[in-house]
């Protein structure tokens, strides 16, 4: 993985670009709108820093591009039209791959379910099923958190989570730094 410092630099550059791009229309925005714009530009910058190597980045950009005109506009500006097209393409292929994975998983589950000859101690089975349910519930929650996570199988979900956590950390650090600096500047 590339070191976090370079990731931060990249993210910051892209984010600044995005902020500047949307700053032109920012004058009359309400705070909420500005918040959304800032967050959106940050997210898009973070996702683009991954260069569509990860599923979540593609999904994030896809979501940003389809939500509304302003999102799409911003994404286009930040990424450039070609890269956006690239992202869309990759996103579609990623979805295909994910669907394939899901289908194969279902087949696997079905086939595994058949020769089930376990001597079930009822308590064991109960405990096992409870644990499984717990894990499944949490996996569902995690899938809802990670952008584009619904399509992933468990293994890739965890990988994506790893990457996403790192990106979020970078994002938080950079934003925090910028916020602190601006606050200091404003105080003075």
């Amino acid at each position: 993985m590339r070191p976090p410092s370079s990731l931060k630099q990249e993210f910051l550059k892209k984010w600044i670009t995005g902020l500047q791009r949307c700053s032109s229309s920012k004058r009359n925005m309400s705070i909420l709108e500005r918040t959304k714009a800032i967050k959106l530009s940050a997210d898009v910058a973070m996702a683009s820093a991954r260069n569509s190597t990860t599923c979540w980045s593609r999904a994030l950009i896809a979501n940003a591009s389809k939500d509304g005109s302003d999102g799409k506009h911003l994404v286009e500006q930040i990424l450039g039209l070609e890269s956006e097209r690239l992202m869309m393409k990759k996103a579609s292929t990623g979805a295909l791959v994910c669907n394939k994975r899901i289908r194969s998983k279902k087949i696997l589950k079905r086939s595994c379910r058949i020769p089930r000859t376990r001597k079930c101690v009822p308590q064991v089975a109960l405990a096992t099923s409870i644990a499984k349910r717990m894990v499944r519930k949490r996996t569902q929650v995690l899938k809802s958190l990670i952008p584009g996570g619904e399509f992933m199988n468990e293994v890739s979900l965890i990988e994506e989570t790893l990457d996403y956590i790192i990106s979020l950390r970078v994002q938080v650090d950079v934003m925090r730094g910028l916020a602190g600096v601006s606050e200091l500047v404003n105080h003075n």
Partner: protein, 576 residues
Amino acid sequence: MREQREYKKVSRESEHGGMDIGEKDKHELEKRNENNINYQAPGMSSDWQFGGANLTSPPMSLVPSDNPMAIGSSCASASGVDSFGSNLWEHPSNSQNLVFCDINVQNGASSLNAIGIGKGGPNSRRSSIDRPFDMGWNASSSMLKGGMFLPHATGILPQSLSQLPADSAFIERAARLSSFNGGNFSDMVNPFGIPESMDIYTRGVGLMQGPQDIFAISGMKSVSGMESQKRKLNATEASRDACLQVENRSTQESPHKNERGSEILVPSKEKAKQGTAGSGNESDKAEFSGGAGGQDEPSALDGTGGEPSAKGVSSKKRKRIVQDAEDDQAKGGQPPIEAAKDSAENQQKGDQNQTTMINKTTGKQGKKGSQASDPPKEEYIHVRARRGQATNSHSLAERVRREKISERMKLLQDLVPGCSKVTGKALMLDEIINYVQSLQRQVEFLSMKLATVDPGLDFNIEGLLPKDIIHLRAGPSSTLGFSPEFSVGYPSLHPTQPGLVQGALPVMGNNADVIRGTLSSHFTPMAGGFKEPTQVSNAWEDDLHNVVQMNYGANAPSDNQEVNGSLPSDHTKVEL
């Protein structure tokens, strides 16, 4: 008693149901119990209940006294305490331990039994540990694999079955091993880029029988690295387990490799090839029911400890194989072949499953291993132990998948603060979810703050950029590799302030070698170019720098995990 001492340290971790490591500790705990006290048939329901209660809390003092109950307790907890999914993790291992105990009792060699039982538990642990460690090892110590790895093991292969290794010596060795491994482990664990490679590595490595021993040992060692003492103590068990583990793995892997290498290999072709090549070399070695080859290396490291454990657990056949292997290895010539013969017999019996008696008896797991909630280590052993099924490929694939998941969960454990103490998939997922949610909320909060802090954010961005960047560089990361990039990038962003940029560049250049502490000192010359920040720059000293850092921390949302050095905001206000 020594065992009790080790076990106490283990019990610290054994309180939770345990995904990988917790599992392991639990097994060790139970093992130790068994070792300490003559194994009693698990017919004590009341004891089980009591034990179950104990399990949920970390009763270090209780555990030793509840040796017979420990096993039952784990079972009881699994059955009684339904809400604790974590107990499930232990349960399979418990059953396995029970089985092992039975076998050991039958065998009659008390020492062997003691160690054999120990092996049963940690095996599962080993497998899950081995995977990531394998990768770490592969990545960082190819030389290790090649050479030092334990050629000596063969010579040392302990002939003295009855001879229980002086545990102290064993522990010393384990400790040495653990320290040896510690660095590698950290290397392996941290970078995220490793997961992909890890994945590949595991696949490739999984097929490689020989290095497995090292990995087992390294796994043990890395574990030690992770949690100092406890691990070291566990290492003794681990090393013992490693032998059996390796046996199991090699047996399991070799048939797997031989029969259906394709499906697992597909995703990682390059590595798979290497793996197959390596495994081809070692297939002979591996085939001896995984025992000989596997045992050699760990036994070399573990000395007598590994051997007895392997022997203790093994059935007669395994013992024979081991002995053969040992003898062979001692000679240095034929072992793989002879061992292979033995293993061939085993293989004939049941494709993937370990054909050892232990394996058959441990088929208690029932399900092939599609229990997602089970720890991969556990599954690993149980799947192997299970009788051959028509869905061999599926179970293998499931096992591999589970191992992959466990590796990544380990990575996540290091990434998410506070996750190292938690074991168990569900709990870890909880932590991860909380962390991700908190990070997302922080981003939202910070973006809102940025939106409110200055309406003229754009200007500030431009004006603050160099200073901001410097500050960022200094704060979160002390690397100044940023500066060249910075100087390249910024002229485009500051068309209106060329002077600023030029002023920044020389400073940047100076800063190339500057670490974070000195960065702030450069602010003053740089600040000259700024209009607003002059006052700020005047105040920029190291202290202020730190204060600002703290200020950031204070202003961030109340996520204690996220705040680095979170001082209260009054602190900064006073300074300002």
